[in-house]
């Protein structure tokens, strides 16, 4: 099942040209917002569907806890590496799939990075990994409103963003 799901996703990623370096870095340089359009389209469709199904008890949510030390330092580090590589962990297999073989170096780097992380994990665990642990938290819980209100506001914001992109020709 994993393979099939990945194939569908990879097919769509390639079709939208999201896997390419020029598109990924293009977004970070505010020149081409293709990947942002793709991501947010997937997010709003998925958001409505998943919360709808969860409401009827058909699926279970499975999200990660808030740990500021991890989310912020890790997020920032990832971003810095991403800016150099121009591919992300999920899409670079797709980049290789369409013949962009510099992604191979990225894949090797990532396997190395994962190994390095495993080596330093015991040290990290005792230091930054627990800083700012707020546990499992969702945006509706944080703001204190019904989740459907958050979803509606989120979708409205995304649509406004899309409109702005199209107006600017990004």
């Amino acid at each position: 099942m994993g393979l099939l799901t990945g194939m569908l996703f990879g097919f769509l990623l390639q079709k939208a040209r999201v896997v390419r370096y020029d598109k990924q870095i293009g977004a970070l340089r505010f020149q081409d917002m293709t990947i942002v359009k793709f991501m947010f389209s997937a997010i709003i469709v998925g958001m409505v569907g998943i919360h709808f199904l969860e409401f009827f008890g058909l699926v279970q949510l499975l999200y990660k806890p808030v740990v500021l030390g991890e989310n912020i330092t890790g997020g920032l580090l990832f971003g810095l590496g991403w800016g150099l590589l121009g591919y992300c962990p999920g899409t670079q297999g797709g980049a290789l799939g369409e013949g962009r073989w510099d992604a191979l170096w990225g894949i090797l780097g990532m396997v190395t990075g994962a190994g390095l992380y495993a080596e330093t994990y015991p040290f990290l665990k005792d230091n930054i990994l627990n800083w700012g642990n707020y546990g499992y938290l969702t945006i509706p819980q944080l703001v204190g409103v019904n989740r459907w209100i958050v979803i509606i506001v989120f979708i409205a914001g995304v649509l406004a963003l899309f409109r702005w992109f199209e107006k600017k020709g990004l």
């Binding site: 870095i25 998925g46 958001m47 991890e70 890790g74 991403w82 962990p89 990225g106």
Partner: protein, 175 residues
């Protein structure tokens, strides 16, 4: 941005993205699996490490948490490669290229230079993704879909880091 119009066989990112959203919904409904990618690199590193130093890998706590073996997500990541390959060959957009156009315009066409930077970028990105406990798939897509605060924070900092680095890399380049 004239090249966008001549890129035949490409789909609107809104449509492809929306369809991906549907794929996520079906995946969660069917197998309970949300999208994610970076854990696969941990498992791969573990498998690779096992081939060279099996004793060391056995001792590392992180590889006990994420056992070095094939799982749904690793198959998913391999599937992305296969799916993209099919789409690219089918639509004739497959191109053997070791230096991206935007990179070549700024740094020349040396695949060695590009390779070194890509490798270092990969190390940093994956270290960061494991520290953040997710990447743009796990935190970005899956986290945001579930309205998780962790996903939102990580996503913001992915972009902050990325924007800072591209500013440095393409400093002074034409806008």
């Amino acid at each position: 941005m004239a090249q966008k119009n001549t890129d035949t066989g490409s789909w609107s990112p809104y449509i492809a993205g929306g369809l991906s959203g549907l794929v996520i919904i079906v995946s969660v409904l069917w197998t309970g699996q949300f999208f994610g990618a970076s854990t696969s690199f941990v498992r791969s590193a573990g498998m690779l490490g096992k081939a060279f130093e099996p004793e060391r890998v056995k001792q590392l706590e992180y590889f006990i948490r994420y056992l070095p073996q094939f799982d749904w997500q690793l198959m998913f990541v391999i599937g992305i490669f296969v799916g993209s390959l099919i789409a690219a060959v089918w639509s004739g957009s497959f191109k053997w290229q070791g230096v991206p156009d935007m990179w070549a315009e700024r740094f020349g066409t040396s695949p060695v230079k590009r390779g070194i930077v890509a490798f270092i970028g990969g190390i940093i990105a994956m270290f960061g993704a494991r520290l953040a406990d997710g990447c743009p798939s796990g935190h970005g897509l899956s986290g945001m879909i579930q309205l998780a605060v962790s996903g939102l924070i990580a996503m913001i900092f992915f972009f902050v880091g990325g924007i800072i680095m591209t500013r440095i890399v393409y400093f002074g380049g034409k806008k």
